[in-house]
């Protein structure tokens, strides 16, 4: 009645299996294999005797992907995020960074590094041409892109972005571990920890926690929700983020909500003082905001967006500044 070839079910299964053959040839056997026992993040500093072992050690990155530890510090490192670049420079590895994103502008020397593109659009071809022996990526890079780099036989290590300031130290130690600069990383993390501890001590047994509203540079009333590490910074600085209950990283806030929250302090994340002044003037002129405590008391302050938006070593200084602005009484009254 019908020619066989228009019968929709004829041989469908056989065909499907045949056609999937070539795809099978190219797929990795173990696309995200977990190695038992090394899944736990290596947060603590490794003991020296472990480091002297001859056999190559394998650690797992934050995606659980196995990563053979190099015997010595890689010569050519590609950094796929500005905070990673910053940490590499802080570990004295600036000269070994062969490629960085166009956002990697700190420290000043980082601007001279060959660019690989952006965070979500780094160029695979450029990365491959640099022939790096280590690529450090983070969760914000598209995972498909990370997979693509792995298929080109590049050693890729993926790091999570932190949720809390305390995640910074293991992050630094982890980067120290895979670049075999464990000692320097431990020293850097130790120094930052001590700096943080002095702030913690200054803020001990606070009678009250002032409420804080953070305004992100740009259009609209963007602020940081409870999932952002900025929320943790504010809490650690002895404040209370008014948008902490929002289950997001970045939220578009409502003007009425600010008036109702009546924050004691407002921080504006700005790239320059001119941007800060413009942002403050815009905020103050909004109808109804003149009644807000922070506006009446003139407690609107600038926070360096460049430092605050990167989960790197400068975050500790940002935190100390926030703490001094929220609790000037604990920091000798200087704001």
């Amino acid at each position: 009645m019908y020619p066989w070839y228009v019968s929709p079910f004829f041989g469908g299964l056989v065909l499907f299996m045949l056609l999937q053959l070539p795809a099978g040839l190219f797929s990795d056997e173990d696309p995200r294999g977990h190695i038992p026992g090394v899944h736990a993040p290596i947060c603590s500093a490794p003991s020296p005797d472990v480091r002297d072992l001859q056999s190559p050690q394998v650690v797992a990155d934050d995606l659980g992907h196995p990563f053979p530890l190099p015997a010595e510090t890689p010569r050519k490192i590609v950094s796929m995020a500005p905070n990673i670049t910053e940490i590499l420079f802080a570990l004295g590895l600036g000269g070994r960074v062969a490629g960085a994103t166009r956002f990697c502008d700190w420290p000043e020397e980082a601007k001279a590094i060959p660019r690989i593109g952006g965070l979500v659009d780094p160029n695979v071809e450029v990365i491959r041409s640099l022939d790096p022996d280590l690529v450090i990526a983070f969760r914000g890079n598209p995972l498909r892109l990370v997979e693509r780099l792995r298929k080109l036989d590049l050693a890729v290590f993926v790091l999570d972005i932190g949720r809390r300031i305390d995640d910074l130290f293991p992050l630094i130690e982890r980067i120290g571990r895979i670049t075999r600069t464990e000692d320097r990383a431990a020293a850097l993390a130790g120094a930052l920890r001590r700096r943080l501890r002095t702030a913690d001590e200054a803020l001990r047994e606070l009678p009250s926690k002032p409420s804080v509203f953070v305004l992100l540079y740009g259009q609209g009333l963007w602020t940081c929700g409870g999932e952002s590490y900025v929320d943790d910074l504010i809490a650690r600085a002895g404040g209370r983020n008014v948008a902490a209950a929002m289950p997001k990283k970045w939220v578009l806030y409502k003007r009425e909500a600010i008036i109702e929250d009546d924050p004691d302090v407002i921080f504006i994340l700005a790239r320059s003082t001119a941007d800060f002044t413009a942002g403050r003037d815009r905020l103050v002129k909004m109808p109804g905001l003149s009644s807000v405590k922070a506006v009446k008391a003139g407690r609107i302050f600038e926070i360096d967006e460049n430092a605050a938006s990167r989960f790197g070593p400068r975050l500790v200084e940002v935190l100390v500044r926030m703490a001094a602005l929220v609790h000037p009484e604990r920091f000798g009254g200087a704001a």
């Binding site: 070539p22 190219f26 659009d121 695979v124």
Partner: protein
Amino acid sequence: MSLRSGRRVFWAAALLLGAAGLLLSLLTGPVRTPIGDLARLFRDPDPVRWAIIVDLRLSRAVLAFLVGAALSLSGAILQGYFRNPMADPFVVGVSSGASLGAVLATALGFEAAAFGFSGPGLLAFASGLGLVMFVYALSLRRGGFKVETLLLTGIAAGALASALTSFFLFMRSDSYDQAVFWLLGSFQLADWGQVATIAPWVVLCLLAAVWLARDMDLLALGDDTAQALGSPVRRVRMAFLAMSALLAALAVAVSGIIGFVGLVVPHWVRILIGPGHRRLFIASALAGGTFLLYCDLIARNLLPAELPIGVITAAVGAPFFLYLLHKKR
């Protein structure tokens, strides 16, 4: 110029341009490649050069060609199917369904890979095909079949899927950047695995379409006439619908949504070589592949940062299309 010699010019030009485009793809990119590097590729194997030319550029060029061929073949089939030049693979809901799947996968962090697809690719394929099947099932429900019903159902279901897509994008604003690559299309992450995944299907659908091309010619005379002339109309229609949906969903799954190719390339080809479907199908696949190959060349070389390819297909394709359309009329 007679149609016959026009055809000869078309085939020669398409093949020549295709070969030239392939060569250009291998030689251009952010990393400078002198032509001597191609010659040295086999004589003096260097892992970096091999990775850039073969693993990155060649696989990308082949994938762009295959996706272009799939989209424009899918468009050629649907335009014949609906006897309507406005039809294109995305009108029936493939793109909206697929983008919903991709955005959902990104938002939920679904990353498992299978059959050479990435997580979002897999979900895009499934939901693109799923939405089309839903649309077809809905409009074929009562035995009868009307082109208008199918098109309108596709548009409405597509709008619903788009609304959900925007909703998920809004809820997870941090996945927005990644979703853009799906919504505007990109071959940035092309690899041989993707080529191997879609190549057999594209070839198979092309062969089947060419095989059934005579029945498609008969459909142009009307379903009743075609039936009277001995064509199994219902079965032929089912086969063509399935093929066009499969081709478009595969294309979206590996490269995101690339508009305009499926709508316009079959038109160019029809203007240049006439309406016979056997020739039309082969020529559409060839021309669509070549067209997308060049669009990808522009997308990755025009600016230091890569452009989404959907921007290029429309910007390059539309003026040429307008010219052809008005020159003929």
